[in-house]
């Protein structure tokens, strides 16, 4: 463009607009264009990633529905001194809130109440029917407390009233506590869950344990394979690559089932061992329908996620480095440890993180081969999502899983450095 210098010493373009403004305008146009280009992707990420995670986090602390159904009852309940049974006002409030409440809202509320104590569901349903009859007849009782206990003896059972202390807040942490085997007592203190029901902490530890084992075995098994892949002549490495990718493309269910055939007591491995005389017929090893089976099957299924990043990193390590190290006097083992291994760290990190993250949330394989002690936390997410409809607990477990992942990521960043991760 032709540039003139105006009287005010401002640089102008031919159409008289200051150059600064004109440039800014052009730049803004570019910016908008760039934004419009990424906008669909941004929208996609917001809709499929940010919103669901936000929704999950909100649900994990939300207890507002029940508070809209029994506001008066909870208000009276909070005044109660927590001795013996609640006073008449509490019974009166719940009597009328049950009689006048909308059916579906009460239905939703009692599903939620049942999470805190088994039995709420039928207690309220049975009572509601009778209360409606009483209200219809117009013959209101003099003592609501006595009437309700007469309708169902559950109303005289303090343990129901104890459990109500878990529901009175619109924002609650009860689901998080439940997800680690804890609950509230009547004064809102955190206590351990009934001993017989404690299994979430165990499942969390088991999930972490299995994930660590699987990651470790994947690394041990994947490293030599990736090394071979990267260093063999193309002819052989291509064939080998097919052996890695073929199972990768095979259905998860098929591979899991194949492992059952291999590992079960009347299966291939036990059969061969018995045939060779290594074990007796009555000593067949239990390798599936327990944690061993879960670890073996998951290791094989997740192995490609370790091999592929390792391979792509190893592929670009010049062969001359090892030769140079050996020329300078290092023995092969030392050269490997000091020169080769450090250069593969980005691949190991990428593969390790990938395998670990996939393993910690794994569902189908542990479900099928897990049996007695091989089921992971994913099982309970599915269970509460589908069977009990306890989406609060479901979200809490999911959020904890997310937090565990973020902590690991942070740790990793501290120790190895996130720039040190490479997929190729």
């Amino acid at each position: 463009m032709e540039v003139t210098i105006s009287a005010t010493n401002e640089i102008l373009t031919t159409d008289g607009i200051p150059l600064k403004v004109s440039l800014k305008k052009a730049e803004r146009k570019n910016k908008i264009r760039a934004f419009l280009l990424v906008f669909p992707l941004l929208l996609f990420i917001i809709v499929t990633f940010v919103v669901p995670i936000g929704d999950m986090l909100l649900r994990s602390v939300d207890d507002s529905q029940i508070n809209t159904v029994f506001p008066k009852t909870f208000e009276e309940y909070k005044k109660w001194d927590r001795q013996d049974l609640p006073p008449e006002e509490v019974y009166k409030s719940i009597f009328f809130e049950l009689a006048e409440g909308e059916g579906i809202q009460i239905g939703k509320a009692l599903t939620r109440m049942n999470y805190s104590k088994s039995g709420w569901k039928s207690l309220i349903k049975k009572t509601k029917r009778k209360i409606k009859k009483i209200v219809k007849s117009g013959d209101l009782p003099t003592s609501y407390k006595d009437t309700m206990i007469e309708i169902h003896k559950g109303w005289g059972d303090p343990s129901f009233w104890v459990s109500m202390s878990q529901m009175t807040d619109e924002r609650t942490l009860i689901y998080y506590w439940n997800a680690i085997d804890r609950t509230y007592d009547i004064d809102g203190n955190v206590i351990m869950q009934d001993e017989k029901r404690r299994m979430y902490i165990k499942t969390w530890i088991r999930t972490l344990k299995v994930s660590v084992y699987v990651t470790f075995f994947c690394l041990i098994l994947g490293f030599p394979v990736a090394h071979l892949l990267a260093n063999l002549p193309l002819r052989y490495s291509n064939l080998l690559m097919i052996f890695v990718l073929l199972p990768f493309w095979t259905s998860l269910l098929v591979r899991t089932t194949a492992w059952i055939v291999m590992l079960q007591q009347k299966g291939v491995i036990n059969g061969v061992l018995v045939w060779l005389g290594i074990i007796n017929d009555d000593q067949r090893i239990q390798m599936v329908y327990n944690m061993t089976g879960t670890i073996i099957a998951m290791t094989q299924i997740l192995l490609p996620f370790m091999i592929l990043p390792l391979y792509s990193v190893m592929k670009v390590i010049p062969k001359s480095h090892m030769r140079a190290a050996q020329n300078l006097g290092a023995k092969p083992v030392k050269a490997f440890i000091r020169v080769y291994l450090p250069q593969t760290v980005p691949g190991m990190s990428a593969g390790g993180l990938l395998v670990f993250v996939l393993a910690i949330g794994y569902f189908i394989t542990p479900e099928l081969v897990g049996g007695k002690d091989g089921q992971l936390i994913g099982h309970w997410i599915a269970y509460h999502l589908k069977t009990t409809l306890n989406w609060g607990l479901c979200s809490a477990i999911g959020s904890i899983l997310l937090a565990v992942m973020l902590v690991l990521y942070w740790l990793y960043n501290k120790i190895v450095g996130i720039d040190n991760i490479k997929l190729g």
């Binding site: 579906i104 239905g107 079960q264 049996g371 007695k372 009990t388």
Partner: protein
């Protein structure tokens, strides 16, 4: 070429929006196959019915209703979920329509016909389907001497050494343990409701075989386990065992004592896209004739008493020309030794017991 692509794309786009179709979500496999043959193929307008598979549970149902984006019309659910779904308003209350359901030949309407079969807790939102059971079965060839005949034998590893197949959740196994412990089958739920230590007692009984259990989670698994000799007997869905015997020529025996009879319901989704046709199809599929027809293809028992009468009169009823009554879980003599499921109690206590069972399994 471009014509082909166009047709291909059109098929893809058009499929999910098939006009005026009633979508029925069910469990898949041989069960859905039997529903298609018994309900859809006998329906006056079969083309508008389409079956879709799902994995059970109310998760998807609630997600559809809450988002206001209801894709299914009818859903096949377990009885405790029929209750929960109805309470939560996920399913529509159709108890007012029960009078329009097809009556039995003896004049009994739906509710009376169900009561004649022992079902008094019919869910308000659903039409009845079938009885299915958790039952113990074994391969008689694995027992050269005495064969197990009582549920106590399942819990007696000294008399019958070997592994047992049990599922990874509690329902069914708990009730069997109680019967094996000496509680009369028809008193199991009475004891569960009235005695505080009843569940402890069941778990104590289960402890006796704890180290002899192989835990399965997919319905096809117990058949493989027994067939391969991995276990000597196993709990299974009775229909799976019946199908193996009647359609595949396997040789299995049942231990009917202590079996748990569970109901199955077809429920109308709240906000179903094609409510009128869906309700009409529901009425058709719960008719005594349709219920009996289903037993031609799978050995689950009709929940309507009149359905059984039709089968009895028509033996050999199974589609391969074999008598089906020997495999039906709810014949009068078997009902006497069966536990009748109480979905209301299970809807109350199921979650707690499942958690406890998981803790027990993993210890």
């Amino acid at each position: 070429m471009s014509k082909f692509i166009k047709a291909f794309l059109l098929a893809f786009i058009a499929f999910p929006f098939a006009a005026n179709a009633v979508t029925v979500a069910s469990w898949g496999g041989a069960y859905t196959e039997s529903q298609i043959k018994a309900y859809k193929d006998t329906y006056s307008n079969p083309d508008i019915i389409q079956f879709e598979n799902y994995n059970g549970g109310l998760g998807e149902v609630r997600a559809q209703v809450e988002s206001g984006n209801v894709a299914w019309d009818l859903v096949d659910v377990l009885p405790d979920q029929a209750i929960t779904g109805c309470d939560e308003g996920l399913f529509e209350d159709i108890s007012g329509e029960y009078g329009n359901f097809i009556a039995a030949d003896n004049g009994d309407g739906l509710v009376a016909d169900m009561a004649a079969n022992g079902v008094t807790n019919l869910s308000d939102c659903c039409g009845p389907q079938i009885f299915w059971t958790y039952v113990v079965f074994y391969d008689p060839d694995a027992f050269p001497g005495e064969k197990p005949s009582k549920i106590a034998d399942f819990f007696d590893v000294e008399k019958f050494p070997g592994k047992r197949g049990v599922h990874t959740w509690a329902n069914g196994f708990i009730q069997m343990a109680m019967v094996a412990d000496g509680i009369a089958p028809n008193a199991v739920y009475k004891v569960l409701k009235s005695q505080t230590g009843a569940v402890d007692r069941a778990f104590a009984k289960m402890d006796e075989i704890k180290d002899h259990i192989v835990h399965w989670s997919a319905g096809a698994k117990p058949l493989e386990l027994v067939k391969s000799g991995e276990v000597i007997m196993s709990i299974a869905y009775n229909g799976r065992v019946g199908a193996a015997v009647l359609s595949e020529g396997e040789n299995f025996e049942y231990i009917w004592e202590g079996q748990l009879l569970e109901q199955e319901y077809l429920c109308l989704m709240t906000g179903a896209p094609d409510r009128e046709n869906a309700l009409d199809f529901l009425i058709h599929s719960t008719s005594p004739a349709s219920q009996a027809e289903q037993a031609k293809y799978i050995t689950y028992g009709p929940m309507r008493a009149s359905g059984i009468d039709i089968i009895k009169a028509g033996e050999p009823w199974f589609h391969t020309g074999i008598d089906v009554m020997p495999h039906m879980p709810n014949t009068p003599e078997r009902l006497k030794i069966s536990v009748m499921g109480d979905p209301e109690w299970w809807a109350d206590n199921g979650a707690e017991i499942d958690e406890r069972y998981a803790a027990w399994m993993g210890n």
